[in-house]
Subunit: 201 residues, 2 copies
DNA sequence: GTCTATACGACGATAGAC
DNA sequence: GTCTATCGTCGTATAGAC
């Protein structure tokens, strides 16, 4: 999107996107305000608009960089590997992503909740293509009897739902568990067990 | 919240809440505007504020009525029944709720995503209490060897995550599956299989 | 009960001094 | 590059006629 030249520009753009992520991920696009973002970034509102032409542009910059990060773990799913190992490794990478980048997860969730008005092309394009491609691999593994026969797209949905839940519904998870819990560590173990049992032929 | 006396008031309050649900569930509290709600309701903006003292009050009215509907399926989980049958029935009721009341699901998701600022008391109170209570039942079933030993709270989280995903991420699910699919019907079958395998001792 | 008109603050974005 | 000041619009909410 924006292509800063100098190091100062680089750094300020980063600061702004970091602040924008914080605010957009909590309130969604329309609920977020430039005043809030400026406040979090420690910069003036006009200064924000010196680096990005509009509120929309900041949001777009975040979404663009997000999609790749988000899909990378699935890209790594390797047909040559052992099926169960590969899928469990994918689940583990996804739960780590939820733990380390919860705001990115919530930004994504906000966008999809609203009907993906600013990501529709990416979802119908790159994302669908990748899921289709990996579904073929999963189906082949099922044909070979190496994992249980399940609808491959729904299997992928369930990995997304279960891992992202811990980032997106973090406040609920922590409230229900009470103090003295490490939700992501527990989720890692639980989901490992869950998918082992599910995938057993 | 509001206690309308006449039938006309009843009906208008209903119309407003219906429109408010439509808008709040898509844009979240801050992203929603009274103009939009008035437009959807087919009423004037001041007329909205004749029935509800504020935007906040409309939102609160929706959340209050939502929580009961949302927790009812879990309340029905009966210790006296067969464990697997009871849990699968719960999953089925939850997926039906996602299918029939997707806007309510998204309203809830929006609220939790934002850190549950207007539901914290309910989550730490009623919701946590109910989960704790049902976790005890699940643990007893596990002690008796009637279902697999799993962390009961995370088992409940996984039911929530998997069923609500189909309402909250509906646009993504449909984009990925492409035309000619019935997401909720497929999800019903898939989740039945998933939990049967997971719960087998 | 429902409308038009409007108060008044917050919003995104711009102008222009430095 | 960064600021203060400000524009025009849209936001919630209210006043007051009917």
């Amino acid at each position: 999107m924006t292509r800063p030249r100098t190091r100062i520009q680089q750094k300020n753009s980063e600061t702004i996107l970091e602040a924008a992520l914080e605010v957009f991920s909590t309130y969604g696009f329309r609920g977020a305000t430039l005043d809030q973002i400026a406040d979090v970034a420690g910069l003036s509102k006009p200064n924000l608009l010196y680096y990005f032409p509009s509120k929309e542009a900041m949001h777009q910059a975040l979404l663009t960089r997000l999609l790749d990060t988000w899909l990378d773990p699935l890209r790594e799913l390797d047909e040559a590997g052992d099926p169960v190992t590969e899928i469990l490794a994918y689940v583990r990478r996804k739960i780590e992503l939820s733990r380390d980048y919860p705001r990115e997860s919530r930004l994504f969730a906000n966008e999809i909740l609203q009907g993906a008005p600013r990501m529709q092309a990416a979802i119908e394009g790159d994302l669908k293509r990748l899921v289709d491609e990996k579904s073929v691999i999963l189906s082949r593994w099922m044909d070979q009897g190496r994992i249980a026969r399940l609808p491959p797209q729904h299997l992928i949905f369930s990995i997304w739902a279960l891992t992202q839940h811990y980032a997106d519904f973090d406040s609920q998870v922590r409230a229900v568990l009470g103090p003295g819990h490490d939700p992501f560590a527990e989720a890692g173990d639980y989901l490992d067990t869950l998918f082992r049992k599910l995938l057993a032929p």
